[in-house]
Symmetry: C2
Subunit: 168 residues, 2 copies
DNA sequence: CTCATACTTAAACCAAGGTTGAAGTCAAGC
DNA sequence: GCTTGACTTCAACCTTGGTTTAAGTATGAG
């Protein structure tokens, strides 16, 4: 069970995989995509520092929340680079997902309510229905409530919670 | 503007595209995938019957609700084949999405609430966090609440609302 | 030193939901 | 009956989030 060791301060890709429950191929993929980083040994093998485990946990958690990797990468970029991130740092960037999640819940609820309305009248047609309307110009009859179903802006990382305090 | 005509009872792919706001390539794709059908002219061109517009509207609406095409196809299969679907038929199959939508809303709310908890403690770590736990076996410490984040069973078309009454 | 494992890379592949392009055919206005 | 635009098919390509495979290299136990 040397794969679970991580007794020193660094982990191989296999050790990190075992600890995080994420496949080595996925970890290499994350590294290619710039979500995690590693030191290389003289023989070109990866060595991960301990806090990478938390970083991977953040990535997987965010994915469970439905956030695309590109967005996760951007938000990870808000972490301080000059020191190991603290609990507070992680909490701060986790806040980024809250608004996003709230927005998505609201959008789904709106969609569901409209569906309920529309089931009542059986009106799922291009021309009349608030749910189905693609973009009304084509129906060419009156200014419909076009923004009822806005593409949710979900996952735009506009959240820059606070300027991350640098240094210790 | 002959593309918008549809004065007769049938539409070409371009006309249906113009009316529905869905690209011709997408309509051909839907047909390949069995979500819509068409008659062919002697010259092998597609002609869509009028109710295809509603069918396409249903498809797009369902996609907005986050339903995959494969599931939409299955539910479309619940429509009567021996007659043009009525308002009631559409309403009936639209009901299929409701439970699904409710489930997804509940899941997202649960995730958000857990995130709120976890932000409080800054605990997004593999070993402790309810949100981050990948599959607890690896953490190897006690029976955690593993099903807090279940993969939502969303989009299983178990909804067979009523046997569709055949004939007019 | 040797041998088994674990590591390295690049490239191919998967699913979904299409788009794009090439090469050829149909339909309609003049 | 010709020309033009809309149609046809097939195949390749795109994105996201990876996995799989092949060929080769490092590391560490004995």
């Amino acid at each position: 069970m040397t794969a679970l060791a991580w007794d020193a301060t660094e982990a191989t890709v296999g050790e990190l995989a075992a600890r995080s429950g994420v496949a080595p191929s996925a970890l290499r993929f994350y590294e290619r995509e710039g979500l995690i980083t590693s030191r290389r040994t003289t023989g070109n093998q990866r060595r991960y520092s301990r806090d990478t485990l938390r970083r991977v946990a953040f990535i997987r958690t965010s994915q469970k929340l439905g956030i695309p990797l590109a967005t996760i990468r951007e938000v990870l970029g808000l972490l301080p680079e000059d020191r190991t991130p603290t609990r507070e740092d992680w909490a701060r960037i986790s806040e980024c997902w809250r608004e996003d999640l709230d927005q998505r819940i609201r959008t789904l609820q709106r969609l569901r309510d409209n569906l309920t309305d529309c089931i009542g009248c059986g009106c799922l047609s291009i021309d009349r229905c608030r749910l189905s309307n693609p973009y009304d110009e084509l129906g060419s009859h009156g200014p419909g409530p076009r923004r009822l179903i806005e593409e949710d802006p979900a996952c735009a990382p506009e959240c820059v919670p606070d300027p991350v305090p640098a240094g210790g």
